[in-house]
Symmetry: C2
Subunit: 283 residues, 2 copies
């Protein structure tokens, strides 16, 4: 399946992985240095996976996430908050990251309202920085998002005190907070707008998302820092009662025909989605 060239590059990648020093739980070492020694076409293999990491200043990431939202939206913002501080703190391959690629995630990808772009951008950087542990760290971020009141107290304080990095604020008011219960842009924005009375095209809503973007980037930095120190604890999070039957499994008849997680199934499926259907064991 893999061509000979692919196999050679794979072997080279494995070699570079083996020659990487493990520091603080995340590989930090020869990868960045090696990159400069190899031809441009071999850069991916040279930098390997994960890319090197060092502890980030969480509050700087929060402020950078906010200002990059102003420049390119939520996915560009959250990834930029992490990326710009990684470029200064670690350097190496991070300086070569094509940040403009992250512009597509705004408004849940081209305005379709799917996943909140701040999560999309943060999860990309988490995966690049943490390697095979990415699954548990991104899962933790997704779960945290749905249960957190945005914008955070820190975010509202930075705005009120003009401590963010923007020169002209969309608004510097302390904004009301909501908990979305969902990682979707559509639900997150709709929940905030409906509960606060601001329109989705208002400067207040845009500023709410800018602050949220910084908050998500900062949480990602917190999780990555804990992972790097070896102190990250990921745990169980609340799941809907529905998930006791409806999960990703191999038995269709018992309800294993979905992919998804969350607490708010009934928001879309209604309070009694089974209706008149006879449930297994209920006869």
């Amino acid at each position: 399946m893999a061509t000979n060239r692919e196999k050679t590059l794979l072997q080279r990648r494995d070699f570079l992985k083996r020659s990487t020093l493990a520091v603080g739980g995340i590989g930090v070492g020869a990868a960045g240095v090696s990159a400069a020694l190899l031809a441009a076409e071999d850069q991916a293999e040279a930098t390997g996976w994960p890319w090197p990491y060092a502890e980030l200043d969480v509050e700087l990431v929060r402020k950078r996430g906010h200002v990059y939202y102003y420049e390119g939206g939520c996915m560009y913002g959250a990834s930029g908050g992490l990326l710009s501080v990684l470029q200064e703190t670690v350097g190496g391959p991070w300086a070569g990251f094509p940040h403009d690629m992250m512009r597509y995630g705004g408004g849940g990808i081209a305005g379709w309202g799917t996943v909140c772009g701040s999560l999309n951008g943060a999860c990309a950087i988490i995966t690049l920085a943490s390697g095979k542990a990415y699954g548990k760290i991104t899962n933790e971020l997704m779960a945290w998002y749905g249960t957190t009141a945005f914008p955070s107290e820190a975010a509202n304080r930075y705005a009120a005190n003009h401590e963010y990095l923007v020169e002209k604020y969309k608004t510097d008011a302390v904004l009301p907070t909501t908990i979305s219960g969902s990682p979707l842009c559509h639900v997150s924005v709709n929940t905030w707008c409906r509960e606060t009375g601001f329109a989705s095209g208002s400067p207040q809503r845009a500023e709410r998302c800018a602050r949220l973007t910084g908050d998500v980037a900062a949480k990602a930095a917190e999780l990555l820092n804990a992972f790097a120190r070896g102190t990250l604890v990921t745990g169980e999070f609340e799941q809907s009662e529905c998930s006791s039957c409806h999960f990703m499994g191999e038995n269709f008849e018992s309800g294993q025909f979905i992919i998804g997680k969350g607490t708010n199934c009934t928001d879309c499926h209604g309070a009694d989605p089974h209706g008149e259907i006879e449930l297994p064991g209920s006869a």
Copy 2:
């Protein structure tokens, strides 16, 4: 706001953008060559945005998307289908792309069922390859996904004839098709499973997603090829009646409190989501 170093790099990026030759509607030129001449830490600036593009073999992209799904899931698959062919066709900065980063999007990001990972991966590569036109191209892909029967006839034929690049198939059966009406993994998978009777953890469902992943990558290549030739036509697509009031706008009272697009609002919101609420003008 930007540091002096940031400003210098921004100026350098602008210079490299200006020195890029426009070929076939997408910039192709000095960027890839320059990358090898500069230090590793300046790679992002050297490669600029968009990255160079040349017409791709759509059917090869479809087959590569399928095989990369087997290796890393839907986001890794769709991006890998495009990326691997770009690496061979164009080379330059594409060879340095950190493909492993794309693993996070599987199952709608860590199994949360948000955006279909094949869309997430394809939109990332579209954005990197098309520059400022990314919005209309990704929007076209998102709209097409929701109205298309997956897996495609081509995909089912490749499986039946063992023309894919995998050695051992999850299944080589011709699979039934469904139209999801949504870019969400949760809806896409649930719709297919419910209509076909296969569980979400079944090899048939995994194979369906592998074929869909190739199909989405192939469509992205089709769109990028058309854009590169200057023949891309993007148009209006069907929107829910609800969207005549509920869109991203500045007037909260008239219903402009959402972000999102689509045809199937009532799937989640019910047939008469207004219920007893008096509508404007209905008194």
